[in-house]
Assembly symmetry: C2
Homo-oligomer: 428 residues x 2
């Protein structure tokens, strides 16, 4: 057996602690599988005195995190977080020093992945980030290697466990978003500032990484059209259910003749689609390949155990010497795909309006649809809960998204509408 | 870019044709991803004159398949099938000649995997077989690499698409096994001799390979207790549905203190489990790891496109130089796990008896259960379709399988029973 793989660990939050516990618990098994031991030699975090429930006295404590890049470790694992700041400084220093780098940091990869990928390639070392997307699910590997023989038409999935937890709870209990969010926060399932999760930013970070690997394109986080679940009503979920759908926040990336389309948005998912059955805080990713067809990867998208599992899987790959270009192909061969115009996309839509309960509102909405060329498949009008307002839920026939946008534009500022309409795409 | 990876292809059935079509269709993409081109240089099959819908004139035709091992290819791909015979001869010759070997042949791996793994390790070359288990789904990779940091408690799944197709159809249409099998055969979804599929042999081959990789044990096909779906009635599926379950043929392997338990058997799967929603000819595999929790991999388990996708994924790994020991760790470190006794396992069971419609039958069954210490959770007796027979369906409380076996032993030869009882395990 060859020398151990020496690891320096930056960041000792829940995931950092999980990595230490995992390497302790599965030490022998990992050595057998990796062909060599994997040993943490140095750690660094902000607060040395904090009790993390694991014995840190075995490791060198390094106060200056960046100094890990100059340690005698073979690999630095970054679990600090944040797109810039100490994480980025450490990444640059580590790769610059010719050491391998493993991270769970989706924000940093979404913003600086290309630069870091180039640095890793220049140094001939590994840059791995399985834990950055969908936690414990080996979906980076699934796309980079498992589906590598395929041209991928689209990749999509449930990439944020907090949102899926909230949606599942809204669905099961018939409650509105704000109420469920407050409860999720009280239980620690959602952050005090939940915006990154519920507004789709976190999912957009992950989607941009997945898309790069699936399509061989440069990560383009800025091109992801992201919205979240903040404006969903319990009534939207109930209407969707009545129509045979469940509501899921999907990140979806699609390669087409006009470029790369990337979106994070709540979707209606038909009950016969596996994503409709992904509940609670689980994540799941679907890739559609031209030979393999539809592949699904599902599991825990967050948490210390699953995330540590992905981090250590990367370390095992490195220990085995089984790694290549971080983005599946050299950065220089990644295409700079233009952002595809969503107006060109065709699909069916769910539209929900909250309107004043007065004469002529339905005619106004119907006229806007007609004028924009949107064909209505079904329309339901229901009295809302005792405030003089009414819900109108429409499902359209398949058509260009541009027409729906035009119809909504026509209705903008209408005195009949209360608040913003809700537009969800129906997964086809 | 380095030299192309030169491939010799043995077997030009549907999968062989699929591999050629895939390498043609996705040629440039694969070269970008693999860092080099992948080129077929030689082919061999039984009948040179057969029209396979692909242009073979570009390749060297080799009449003697074994001679591919001496060709100037870097890798031989074996798509002939059969546990012994020409496939095994070719495998031995190829690895003996120090060339990499890729195969979709689960029967050969189940019987001779250890020998071939040793030969590959001795030669320092790749032996890869992603296509041998669950077709296009990268589940070998998922276990070998994606879940590598985990101690796996159990691995189980839907490993035979023909059986799942038949079960889904029985479920959707309320029909009996024999009728649906005949239809599946007429449509080409089931073989003329369907025994390998419907009696669980094919799934057992695959399970023994999965178990080896999941648990670090020697493949032990002979230790798989396999039965199939031949004796299932439409009524079993209906009773299961009434109880909130779907019937799936599962291969399940579990590591315990008393050894390795491996079984292929129809199971009742609760509706809130993802495998309950895997319909048609799809496959799906679940692995439960001590840190990652439950991972699910789902997709097409057969067919030329998906299988070719897995074969070429292996070739891309080889082209990238990203491969290691075939069974995730060197053959010498694989443990020879004893076969665990199923009697020790605890679980809930579904038991169905077809009985004569006469006084005292129920008392006889109930007495046998009581005497063996089997606790009954629910019992339904229904008149069967007009033949003077009655169905008795029992769900037991959790208990040792030994007790259920004892109860059935007591009832063996009873004049009241018509045919064999059906015993299914309830997935817990």
């Amino acid at each position: 057996m060859t020398d151990p793989l020496r690891v320096a660990l930056a960041g000792l939050g829940t995931v950092g602690g999980g990595v230490i516990r995992l390497l302790d618990a599965n030490r022998d098994l990992i050595a057998r599988r990796a062909g060599r031991a994997i040993e943490i030699v140095a750690v660094s975090a902000r607060d040395r005195s904090k009790d993390r429930g694991v014995d840190l006295s075995r490791f060198d404590w390094v106060d200056d995190t960046t100094a890990l890049a100059r340690s005698d470790a073979d690999v630095v694992v970054e679990l600090i977080g944040g797109s810039d700041g100490p994480a980025l400084t450490l990444a640059r220093a580590t790769l610059g020093a010719g050491k391998a780098f493993v991270t769970a940091n989706k924000a940093m990869l979404a913003h600086h992945g290309l630069e870091l990928g180039e640095a890793a390639e220049a140094a001939g070392v590994a840059l791995k980030f399985e834990a950055a997307v969908a936690g414990g699910i080996p979906v980076i590997k699934g796309l980079r290697e498992g589906a590598a023989a395929n041209e991928i038409a689209r990749v999509y999935g449930i990439l944020n466990g907090t949102c899926n937890f909230i949606l599942s709870k809204m669905e099961a209990e018939g409650r509105d978003f704000a109420e469920v969010l407050a409860e999720a926060q009280a239980l620690g399932y959602a952050e005090a500032d939940p915006s990154f999760d519920i507004d789709g930013v976190d999912a957009a970070h992950k989607l941009s990484i997945l898309a790069s690997i699936a399509f061989g394109t440069r990560p383009a986080f800025g091109d992801v059209a992201a919205s979240g679940i903040r404006h969903l009503l319990g009534a939207d979920i109930a209407e969707a259910a009545a129509l045979g759908y469940r509501v899921r926040l999907l990140g979806l990336a699609e390669a087409g003749p006009n470029g790369l389309f990337q979106r994070v948005h709540p979707h209606l998912v038909p009950l016969d689609h596996p994503l409709a059955h992904v509940t609670g805080s689980l994540n799941a990713v679907v890739a559609e390949g031209n030979f393999v067809g539809r592949l699904l990867f599902q599991g825990a998208g967050a948490g210390d155990g699953p995330t540590a599992s992905a981090v250590v899987a990367d370390l095992i790959d490195i220990a085995r010497g089984e790694f290549g270009p971080p983005f599946a192909m050299p950065v220089a061969s990644l295409a700079a795909a233009p952002k595809a115009d969503s107006g060109e996309r065709r699909g069916r839509a769910y539209l929900r309006f909250t309107v004043a309960d007065k004469v002529g509102v339905l005619a106004e909405i119907a006229a806007a649809m007609r004028d924009a060329g949107v064909s209505i498949e079904s329309l339901i009008q229901r009295g809302a809960s005792g405030e003089g307002s009414v819900l109108v839920a429409i499902v359209t026939h398949e058509g260009p998204e541009r027409s729906v946008a035009q119809a909504l534009e026509k209705l903008r500022g209408s005195q009949s509408l209360i608040g913003q309409p809700m537009w969800m795409h129906i997964l086809g």
